[in-house]
Amino acid sequence: MEIFAQQIVNGLVLGSIYALVALGYTMVYGILGLINFAHGDITMIGALVSLTLVQLLAAAGLPAPVVLGLAACGAMLVCAALGLSIERVAYRPLRRAPRLAPLITAIGVSILLQYSAALVWGKQYISLPSIIEPVRFTLFGAQMTLLQATIFLLACTIMGGLLWFIKASRMGRAMRATEQNPDVAGLMGVNTNTVIAFTFLLGSAIGAIAGLMVVLYYGIGHYFMGFMLGLKAFTAAVLGGIGNVAGAVLGGLLLGVIESLASGYIGDLTGGVLGSNYRDIFAFLVLVLVLVLRPSGLMGRHAGDRA
């Protein structure tokens, strides 16, 4: 029972990070019908930029909250600019091309980002200087650190804020209108190019925060870390129903919990043959099952609604 509670807590924390990354996939898919495979790597850039900033600022002797705040702002700025540029240079010229073209371009952008990062940061693992003392407390019989709690609460705040923004703001309404019918949104006075660019900016900035969270959570960063993170977040988006923002939140949290529970029990289940290092299997098992059983996802519109 203790393992169960512990894995639920771990899963929710991890899942809230997946959910933040999944938002970037789902928002872009919703508005363009494009799976932006470079999004995981934008998150990676956010992670590495914040790592570097934390290293520099901590060396300068600033207090930890200031270091983290500045690192978050820096990573968000870099990722937002990156997301905007990628949209402008790589995707916008292909807006009316067959759907395969932007998809392949996205994979190309992903590889480009990975190897650019390898050039800048090298191919070795980069570790985070220890700037926060672990503070532990017990919640429902599970151990939790202050860092975990902060990650989870911050992620929930960002997700809640985003849902509210899309629901209630003028820009959010324009985003939904553009998603449903870009031509008519144009007739209403919406500059759909601006809306699409803004969607990339928003998703990338949120991805940057997720990158910083991953770095804080695992303590390391690497030029290839965006690959697995991106695939899992994509799985989370598909699980929730790709294109659906609330679905991405649900899918991310659920995937985190599934993965944590599975890695907690996999040893018992397989009689010790497989260890928790096989945890990644479960994310993709979930992906396969969703695609076979319910391709539109938990909260998605039924398949066929969208061409």
Binding site: Q180, N181, A185
Partner: protein
């Protein structure tokens, strides 16, 4: 004679290499109600799409309110008061009725006036008021057409382009929509109306243009067109 609000010279619209509109001229003056009629595939919708900025013309010149607007995008034109109700209504199905109307006022930020216009729209279409928090996709075809018109009015257009407002509607609803067209015209909105229901369109409008395979073949007063034997035979089923 009132000033010319919209003037079109030699307009061509092409899809790939195929010309759907082959160099037409037309003109709409302030306060007028003008019909553009013709058979399916005559190029009416393509013409409207070019005028509203949804399609870039292949050739020709469009002047609106005294300035050239050829090739200007739709989001720019609606800020000048040129709005369109597209064919098939184009409501946002997963936005509520109220949100659709708010999208209509997207280019405005005079909140008190928007609220007044919203109240006016609801009084013009009480059905929409009843259903304001319902998703637009759940409305009937006629209700969606009302919503599309109410939404277009929310930007306070000076020129409203209407594409096939009667399409797919029951006869009673068609009557209701045309009553609304007349009511809106009475408020001083100039309109260019594309319609397959030629009789109703010509009875409602002041003037009309007849299009055939991409060209304007007749242009006259609506009353004269209604009496024209060619029109009567081809479009009024006589």
């Amino acid at each position: 004679m009132p000033e010319t609000l919209l003037s079109v010279r030699g307009l061509e619209v092409a899809y790939g290499g195929i010309r759907a509109v082959k160099g037409i001229d037309l003109e709409v003056r302030g306060g007028e109600l003008v019909a553009l009629i013709g058979a399916n595939g005559a190029g009416k919708t393509s013409t409207l799409k070019a005028l509203s900025g949804l399609l870039r013309p292949a050739a020709g010149r469009i002047d609106y309110d005294g300035t050239e607007v050829t090739g200007k995008p739709a989001y720019h034109l609606v800020r000048q008061g040129l709005a369109m109700v597209p064919e098939g209504r184009g409501v946002f199905p997963r936005l509520t009725v109220a949100e659709n109307l708010a999208m209509g006022a997207y280019v405005r930020n005079d909140k008190p006036a928007i609220l007044r216009d919203l109240a006016h729209a609801y009084s013009l279409f009480p059905r929409l008021a009843e259903r304001r928090s319902q998703l637009a996709g759940t409305l009937s075809g006629g209700e969606q057409q009302m919503l599309a018109m109410a939404r277009a009015l929310m930007c306070r257009p000076r020129l409203l382009l209407l594409d096939e407002p009667s399409m797919g509607l029951a006869p009673l609803m068609v009557q209701k929509i045309f009553e609304t067209v007349r009511a809106v015209a009475a408020e001083g909105v100039t309109m260019l109306l594309v319609e397959q229901n030629a009789k109703l369109a010509l009875e409602t409008c002041h003037r009309g243009y007849v299009m055939e395979s991409g060209s304007v073949v007749l242009a006259d007063n609506a009353a004269a067109l209604l009496r024209n034997p060619q029109v009567r035979q081809a479009y009024l089923g006589e």
